[in-house]
């Protein structure tokens, strides 16, 4: 079956023009590797930086996001069919998902719990009673002709997401920000359409039809692409920590639409455009910045910004208008007649007697207690208990599994965590990035790295040699540090007489430096130490070399 799929797929491409049905894009990225959002690269223009007081008549961007997060559950929102990513087409479809007459929706408790947990983590107010509505539109991958969603009263409202981005010239200043969450609603996902333009037909796969989504609506509290990307990254980490959504943008588990407008601070918001079809955080940032710039330029030329839907073309880096909406869309919302209100209880005491002990009840108390450690708490703990810098805590939490790796290394060595962090965030992460590996695939285990750092801490090898040994261990995963040091004779030269000779040779061949040092230029000492290390291939004990050189030149 998989082979058949492959035969068909090359003929198809995702329709980028679909103006109303934006979910359908970003579908066929099965081979893509998830790209993590980097919060360390700034594309945020100065206008968005409150540090630099922007002139009041200058136009600034205003960005709000609508995020669809696919709920991580075994079964769909209203049917008992399986949720899965790359299954054979139409294999994960029940009669209800295919909208056969006479089928009725039965809500999945897990999906409600996931939305409630997410809402609690984002400090939302949970509506104890919420309603489902039908939103009508015709599209072939929505077989019922309507989507069940929450329009009148969503499951949660009025939350906030705190996120941070690295600012300043050295990218080491933490800027903390908050974006308000307007609401979180439960709704059904649609199926997938594959457009075959040559044969003028659309192929429909309903495997995704009816999968549970949480739609998170963020208020327009952001002002540039970098902020939006950082907020989405933080949300992604929160969702992953909660286990309510896998958060993989390239697989469409997290889909972001951006509402972008520009205005002069203090004045009312400008006309907004909606940018859709953004399937990575990097593109999100670029698309938003491009769109802000485009609107500023258009207004500068005396043109108006149209309220339109635009799509992001990742090749050109531009946003392009999608086909005209032909006037305002009319979704004809109506209350879903088949579903009574969804009730969530504060504690077990408030559950009606008849329902106590019943499985089909969602109680806030238990869910609140079961919330895992959230990324912001993790970072605070890392800074507090290991004395790390905030930017290091970001690196550790941002990279999946890196914090656990770091903590494992800390446990196995006497080296101070603060001295150790560079090895994890620079050396190890550098190797991982270079080989495009995740932490879980790292060939050097935490204990192997700990062993290497122990050697350095104990003064057996220099830090230069330690880096060299790490490279050796990376190339040949089975090998341990002591073995490499022994075989290649990399141990620190502590023998005073050997070093005496080397130092003397260096001093003899650089009389100018010696003179400078004697005239009081202390910096020259470092230069001389470097020359000695070069001679010994980094194996000399720096403390010893320093004292020898000082002794000889004084």
């Amino acid at each position: 079956m998989a082979a058949c799929t492959v035969l068909v797929t090359p003929l198809l491409y995702v329709n980028k023009q679909s103006s109303l049905f934006y979910y359908k894009a970003c579908n066929i990225h099965r081979q893509c590797v998830t790209k993590k959002i980097s919060t360390s690269v700034s594309r945020c223009s100065s206008q968005a930086d409150p540090q630099k007081k922007s002139r009041p008549h200058e136009l600034v961007g205003v960005v709000g996001l609508e995020i669809h997060a696919q709920i991580q559950s075994n079964t769909k929102l209203f049917s008992g069919s399986k949720v899965g990513f790359s299954a054979p087409p139409n294999s994960l479809v029940s009669f209800f998902d295919a909208s056969l007459p006479g089928t009725l929706p039965v809500l999945n408790r897990r999906c409600v719990e996931a939305a409630v947990m997410t809402a609690l983590a984002l400090n939302c107010t949970i509506n104890k009673k919420s309603f489902f509505d039908r939103k009508h539109y015709f599209y072939a991958d929505l077989p019922a002709g309507y989507q069940i969603t929450q329009q009148r009263r969503a499951v949660a409202v009025d939350g906030q997401l705190a996120y941070s981005l690295l600012g300043g010239r050295k990218r080491n200043q933490i800027q903390s920000r908050t974006v308000r969450i307007k609401q979180i609603q439960l709704e059904q996902d649609s199926g997938k359409s594959l457009h075959d333009d040559q044969r003028s037909q659309t192929l429909i796969d309903l495997n995704r039809a009816g999968v549970g989504l949480m739609e998170l609506v963020m208020e327009p509290d952001m002002s540039c692409g970098e902020q939006a990307a950082a907020a989405v990254r933080e949300l992604q980490l929160v969702l992953q920590a909660l286990g309510t959504c896998q958060g993989n943008m390239s697989e469409g588990q997290l889909r972001v639409d951006a509402n972008v407008s520009v205005h002069r601070p203090g004045e009312e918001l400008g006309v907004r455009t909606e940018v859709k079809n953004i399937n990575s955080a990097r593109f999100l940032s670029r698309a938003i910045d491009y769109e802000i710039q485009r609107q500023i330029e258009a207004l500068g030329r005396g043109e108006a910004v149209l309220n339109e839907t635009r799509t992001y073309d990742s090749k050109s880096g531009h946003t392009i208008p999608m086909r005209d909406k032909e006037g305002l869309q009319d979704y004809r919302f109506m209350p879903e007649p088949n579903l009574p209100p969804l009730v969530v209880y504060e504690d077990r005491g408030s559950v009606p007697a008849g329902l106590l002990g019943a499985e089909g009840v969602v109680v806030l108390e238990g869910l609140r207690e079961g919330l895992p450690e959230l990324p912001s708490v993790k970072r605070a703990r890392l800074v507090r208990s290991y004395g790390l810098l905030p930017e290091h805590s970001f690196t550790l939490v941002n990279e999946d599994g890196l914090m656990e790796y770091f903590e494992a290394v800390v446990k196995e060595t006497r080296k101070e965590p603060r001295k150790l962090i560079g090895w994890v965030t620079n050396e190890l992460l550098g190797h991982l990035k270079h080989h495009n590996l995740s932490v879980s695939k790292c060939p050097v285990s935490p204990s192997a790295l700990a062993e290497l750092l122990e050697l350095q801490e104990a003064g057996h090898i220099s830090s230069t040699v330690a880096k060299q040994v790490l490279g050796e261990m990376w190339r040949d995963p089975g090998r341990r540090a002591p073995e490499v040091v022994r075989e290649q004779d990399l141990g620190l030269v502590c023998d005073s007489s050997d070093l005496q000779r080397v130092c003397q040779r260096v001093l003899d061949s650089h009389p100018d430096l010696v003179r400078a040092l004697q005239e009081g230029n202390k910096k020259v000492l470092n230069r001389l130490m470097g020359l000695v290390q070069k001679e010994t291939k980094g194996r000399a004990d720096p403390v010893l070399v320093r004292s020898l050189l000082e002794e000889k030149t004084s």
Partner: protein, 195 residues
């Protein structure tokens, strides 16, 4: 089963099938929120006893406590009491056609639409003063929640044959988002249909 695309396509369909549908679209398009029309006109059933009523129906000719009146109790409204039909504008027909994905821009179709509107206008005669709007008979109930266990699916061999056209394991639908004919083209379509 693939939505209205496949059921109706852009073909002509028997108008009496879609009459109620059109009627709904008409009202939906007249007011921004369909609730306001739909809901206000429904009387809220209050003071209904919540205790269960024992009903013995099988093999029984006993009287039971039915909520259904034995005899119909309507009185026909005089045509003059129904508000007169506003002119259905060409733009409104455009919008209805687009929302319903049904072509009915024929003389016969327009008459049918007008009759549907007139029929639905009877509801405006119901006095709803002081009645709290209601949007579902289930509004005092609460949802049953099921466990997250796979119980269905894997029935492509039953579902796929229901579709007219399939390719491998996919359903086949016409390309989506077909632009509607331009206004002038539509006007000429109407003219021709008047024969």
């Amino acid at each position: 089963m693939l939505g209205i695309h496949q059921i109706y396509g852009r073909r002509r369909v028997q108008l009496n099938i879609i009459l109620p549908l059109l009627c709904r679209y008409y009202y939906a398009s007249r007011t921004d929120n369909m609730l306001s029309t739909n809901v206000k006109t429904l009387r809220k059933t209050r003071n209904t006893p919540s205790r269960p009523v024992t009903v013995a129906r099988l093999y029984s000719s006993n009287k039971h406590n039915s909520k259904v009146p034995k005899v119909p109790t309507w009185e026909p409204l005089g045509e003059d009491r129904i508000p007169s039909l506003p002119q259905v504008s060409s733009d409104l027909v455009d919008k209805l056609e687009r929302l319903a994905l049904v072509d009915f821009r024929t003389k016969e179709g327009l008459v049918c639409l007008e009759r549907a509107i007139r029929f639905a206008d009877h509801l405006n005669m119901v006095d709803t003063t002081g009645v709290e709007p209601m949007d579902s008979v289930l509004e005092h109930g609460q949802l049953f929640l099921r466990g997250d266990t796979v119980t269905e699916g894997d029935c492509a061999e039953k579902l796929l044959p229901l579709s007219n056209t399939t390719v491998e394991e996919y359903f086949v639908a016409p390309p989506g988002n077909i632009p509607l004919p331009r206004r002038e083209e539509r006007a000429s379509m109407l003219k021709h249909s008047e024969f």
